[in-house]
């Protein structure tokens, strides 16, 4: 379990501290997926950095399987358990070829070379980068770099995966593929914290947490959270397919709430 208990965090800044998180409590259990939504600047990426100890809370604590991230003795164990896909994939590139970049994590963990090769091949295949093994990461397109960052985290095979807007630069098919991968991992017991601006993607999670200016404003199942009146004032809006569903519902077609797929709309017809 990843547990945030009363976490407050602030960035020191010349004009005074920027408080990014205030008394945040939430958890992610093994095999559970939690989506995090919130306006720009609401603290989502900060939350991600705290989840694997890259940043430490000013107040409160973050526990990973019972280990306090602020306890220096656990730094390594926490990093192994919590894989992180950063919002900007460029900040994650460490090697000069695609293949070495994905191998870097497992190598650091001391995984056997034979196994590393397997994992790297599998991860690259999963994200659709097979064939680009020898390419230089900085010479990839934006979406290809984002897929590379995801492959790097997959190859670590972590107990928990924290993904900060992992599909922001992907085409719709790529986005659907990544969501499929996350579903599979969850079924295998991986705990997932998925930061996104897409309500349709969050609708697939077990639970949704909405951040507002560093505080947890809403939390619950997708159906509960998406029914909240306050959604739009929190900077969230239903995707166009949701608007379509709402309009149909208003016209008397029994479309279920949080119906953010074409299938669920047609089903209701």
């Amino acid at each position: 379990m990843i547990e945030f208990a009363g976490v407050t965090f602030a960035y020191p800044s010349p004009g005074g501290d920027v408080v990014a998180l205030r008394s945040v409590s939430l958890s992610v259990a093994p095999g559970e997926s939690v989506a995090v939504l919130g306006a720009n600047g609401s603290g989502k990426s900060t939350l991600a950095l705290l989840a694997n100890g890259l940043r430490l809370p000013r107040e409160g604590s973050v526990l990973v399987d019972g280990m306090d991230t602020s306890d220096g003795a656990h730094v390594w164990d926490v990093r192994i358990r919590v894989g992180l896909v950063l919002q900007n994939p460029d900040n994650q590139i460490v090697a000069t070829t695609v293949e070495e970049d994905v191998a870097f994590g497992p190598e650091n963990l001391g995984v056997e070379p034979e196994l590393i090769r397997e994992r790297v091949a599998r991860a690259l295949e999963t994200v659709g980068l097979g064939g680009l093994e020898g390419r230089e990461p900085h010479h990839l397109s934006g979406g290809q770099r984002q897929r590379l960052a995801i492959a790097g985290a997959l190859a670590l095979e972590p107990a928990y995966l924290v993904l900060d807007e992992p599909t922001a630069m992907l085409d719709l098919q790529g986005r659907a593929d990544v969501l499929g991968v996350l579903d599979t991992l969850r079924e295998r017991g991986t705990g997932i914290l998925h930061i996104t601006h897409h309500l349709a993607d969050a609708a697939r999670a077990d639970r949704v947490v909405v951040l507002d200016r560093g505080e947890v404003a809403l939390s619950g199942t997708p159906v509960e959270v998406f029914a909240e009146e306050s959604l739009s004032s929190l900077g969230l809006a239903a995707p166009p397919i949701g608007e379509l569903a709402d309009a149909l519902r208003a016209a008397g077609v029994p479309v279920p709430a949080a119906a953010y797929t074409a299938e669920s709309v047609v089903e209701a017809l």
């Binding site: 919002q87 010479h139 166009p240 569903a245 149909l248 953010y260």
Partner: protein
């Protein structure tokens, strides 16, 4: 016509062992005003197309003209400036403070400091950032969406005659996406605007024209309305259809007499409602 691509090809690392063909045989004409959407799968050549249009890359084969003259270098300082908002905004920000970053273009064009600052503050407000909170922040200590907004503001402050946006809504929240849609919808009245996006749904309703790229080649170039009416074009370009269109296509496949397709959610709902009524 402002930008003209004539049989343009681009190869990264041409002549080296790492040569990668990004575009081939692209012929396009971008008008002086109006909104053109460029859609395509990951790696299809969209960002390369925009870098060429901004004069940041020069064609490997074929030729490119701007206002009738051959393009030989960056167009940011042309008489009719071309502004490009990069896919990764971080690569675009450079100054010590947000306000200096956004005021750079007007300063560079010789505008007075106070006038430049006013223009920059206006641009920041347009993208939903309050100058009072953001002007003096470092552009490198922002959240992802805040950084994209600053990058967009910096290009708006250039007052470009041609505006190129590479994934302008990626990483933006609902209000940020709305702001970008409004910027684009108003800019296209007197500027040529090109938007590269995976978020076709966000712009299909306001676009004049759509271009689909697949593996560096154009597979569709026509009115956005035509693309909406022929959604098979998406699959042809290796793309998944936007969800609103997919709902209408699935409904028709399921036997509902869907008369025509619409990219607008409200109109699509009306069309689906009618189809449901007719099939009862």
């Amino acid at each position: 016509m402002s930008l003209g691509f004539s049989d343009v090809g681009y190869i990264y690392g041409d002549g080296t062992a790492y040569a990668t063909r990004a575009l081939g045989g692209v012929t396009l004409e971008l008008p002086r005003t109006g909104l053109t959407l460029v859609l395509g799968a990951t790696g299809s050549g969209k960002s390369t197309l925009l870098r060429l249009a901004a004069g940041l890359l020069l064609p490997t084969t074929g030729s490119l003209t701007y206002d009738g003259a051959p393009v030989t270098g960056p167009l940011a300082t042309a008489a009719r400036p071309v502004g490009l908002v990069f896919q990764s905004p971080e690569t675009q920000l450079f100054a010590e403070t947000v306000i200096e970053d956004v005021a750079f273009a007007p300063r560079n064009r010789g505008r007075a400091a106070s006038e430049s600052r006013a223009a920059a503050e206006r641009a920041l407000r347009t993208v939903g950032l309050d100058p009072a909170s953001f002007a003096d922040r470092s552009p490198f200590s922002l959240s992802g969406g805040e950084a994209r907004r600053v990058a967009i503001a910096g290009v708006l402050a250039m007052e470009p005659a041609t505006l190129l946006f590479d994934e302008p809504t990626a990483g933006l929240d609902a209000s940020g996406r709305r702001a970008v849609r409004e910027v684009v919808a108003s800019a296209r009245r007197d500027a040529g605007v090109v938007v590269v996006t995976h978020d076709a749904e966000e712009f299909l309703g306001v676009a004049d024209r759509a271009v689909l790229l697949k593996d560096g080649a154009v597979t569709f170039d026509g009115p956005a309305a035509t693309l909406v009416g022929e959604p098979d074009r998406f699959a042809e370009a290796g793309l998944r259809m936007p969800e609103v269109l997919r709902a209408q296509v699935l409904a028709r496949e399921a036997g509902f007499p869907v008369e025509r397709f619409s990219a607008d959610p409200a109109e699509a709902a009306a069309l689906l409602g009618d189809a449901r009524g007719a099939s009862r």
